[in-house]
Amino acid sequence: MRGNAGISCWHRVLGKTRDENTNPRLGVVASILLHYLFQRIYALRPPINRIMIHIRRDVCGYCGACVSVCPHGSLELIDTYLTVDAQTCKNKCKICSTICPLGALELVEK
């Protein structure tokens, strides 16, 4: 629903259902209207301040200290590559960013 990509996408959907005799431009107009409508509805959504864990790869020493204290088991060290499971991570507990001996874990708002 952003920019022209959204419009052309709706045009394709509406275009497929249109009758051969109708004006092909109707699909385009309808899709612009729909696009506008959805944009307005989308703007009314409640704000979500999602805090995400950002791993500074150039700082991480891949020691696994964070993995051992994560209460949700969301972190895993794959060889030397630290991963976060966004599904289980509660983001706000900050335990991993506190424990890190080097300061490789940051909490950033997205």
Partner: protein, 397 residues
């Protein structure tokens, strides 16, 4: 990699290597998987071990011994020193190892005993049937293997995930994980025959700074602080950098080593159906020193033996494997862990004034026959205010 083994060992550290070697020696088919491409690296260790402790498992070999130390020196916050000399410790203090070579030697011995080893092979999940572990999914070089085993030994260290996936909570409380940074520092003036422990709640809160010699002018210099004492601007690395700038401003750092050391109680139960947990994964490192090599080797070997006996009897249920849990808890190792945890609980939170007073009372002592019990009693005599800590300490003694 085959589809079925008697024993699957996850992790190629000292615990995993001893487990694989012991199990293979009894004639079982054993697979050891190590997620890293090489055994022994990266090092996550200060590398100190007692001579007696090491001798229980392997004869000392110069190729993986970096230094032989004759005394341990405890330094209080104000610089007061207490030396445990060679004579007091019966002529055998300890070694500082070269873990990169040591770990390889241990794994090589497991291979010699008949165990199969796969590196860069990561266990990503247990195979669970009816709520019990039946093996593991192994990822290696972009391929996925299902490996089944009668017994799985989890030796996956401080970052242990395997037991967690199998339903055992191995999470270490934040305040009971020591967050550590260590440098190998070269070209410095040190006592090459002494392991130095510096305690101070200001310079290393709820932990200590260590200097373990790796040669005449080189040492592992590191720090561990409690997780709750760590944070932006005062992380383990910040504390260590401050200490180095003050004490060894001209030292040349050739290696950065980081890691976490659990100083919590061991897992409530270190076995499940077809699963044994050893070493750091079972949270068996010493709560006072943080040492874990011996404890991993001890429980690794025990796990290998218990797994072999259970497989021979055709019963690898939790009930059958409980003998592992009970044996290490009843051993000198289990008792030391209980005692040292209680002592740690009392001493860790003391401010520098109290720590000074304690180290001072120790430095006056003549200790011929050294034991923790005698040491604590002597400290107690000199520092009656410790009575406030009596409930904890009585448990320890």
């Amino acid at each position: 990699m085959k589809e079925f083994y008697d024993v699957l060992v996850i992790g190629g550290g000292p615990g995993g290597a001893l487990a694989a070697k012991t199990a293979a020696e009894t004639g079982l088919s054993v697979l050891l998987v190590e997620k890293r491409p090489a055994i022994g690296v990266p090092v996550r260790c200060a590398e100190g071990i007692g001579k007696d402790a090491l001798a229980e498992f392997i004869e000392a070999d110069p190729k993986w011994i970096a230094a032989s130390v004759e005394r341990a020196v405890l330094i209080g916050p104000n610089g007061t020193k207490f030396t445990i000399s060679n004579e007091a410790a019966g002529g055998k203090v300890g070694y500082v190892l070269d873990r990169k070579v040591f770990d390889r030697e241990l794994v090589w011995r497991a291979v010699e005993a008949g165990a199969e080893i796969q590196v860069h092979a990561r266990a990503s999940a247990p195979i669970m049937i009816g709520g019990s572990v039946q093996g593991a999914i192994i990822h290696q070089h972009g391929k996925i293997y299902e490996v089944r085993a009668k017994v799985v030994i989890a030796a996956d260290g401080v970052e242990s995930k395997f037991p967690k996936w199998a339903g055992i909570d191995t999470t270490v409380p934040l305040w009971e994980l020591e967050t550590c940074v260590q440098y190998i520092v070269n070209d410095i003036d040190i006592d090459p025959k002494a392991n130095v422990f510096y305690i101070s709640n200001e310079a290393c809160p709820w932990g200590y700074i260590w200097i373990f010699p790796k040669g005449p002018r080189s040492a592992n210099i590191g720090i561990g602080i409690a997780g709750t004492k760590s944070g932006e601007g005062h992380r383990a690395k910040d504390y260590l950098d401050r200490y180095l700038a003050k004490e060894f401003p001209n030292g040349k750092v050739t290696e950065l080593i980081v890691g976490g050391v659990p100083v919590c109680r061991p897992l409530e139960c270190s076995v499940a159906d077809n699963l044994i947990i050893v070493g750091d994964a079972a949270r068996l490192s010493d709560p006072i020193t943080g040492g874990g090599i011996y404890n991993a080797m001890y429980t690794g070997k025990l796990a290998g033996n218990v797994a072999a006996a259970a497989i021979k009897n055709g019963d690898t249920s939790k009930k059958a494997l409980m003998v592992y849990d009970k044996t290490w808890r009843d051993s000198h190792l289990g008792k030391t862990l209980v005692r040292n945890y209680a002592v740690k609980e009392s001493f860790i939170k003391m401010d520098d004034k109290k720590l000074n007073s304690i180290v001072h009372s120790m430095s006056d002592m003549q200790i011929e026959d050294l034991s923790v019990k005698k040491l604590v009693l002597a400290i107690f005599k000199e520092n009656p205010w410790l009575a406030l800590e009596l409930p904890h300490l009585l448990k320890a003694l």
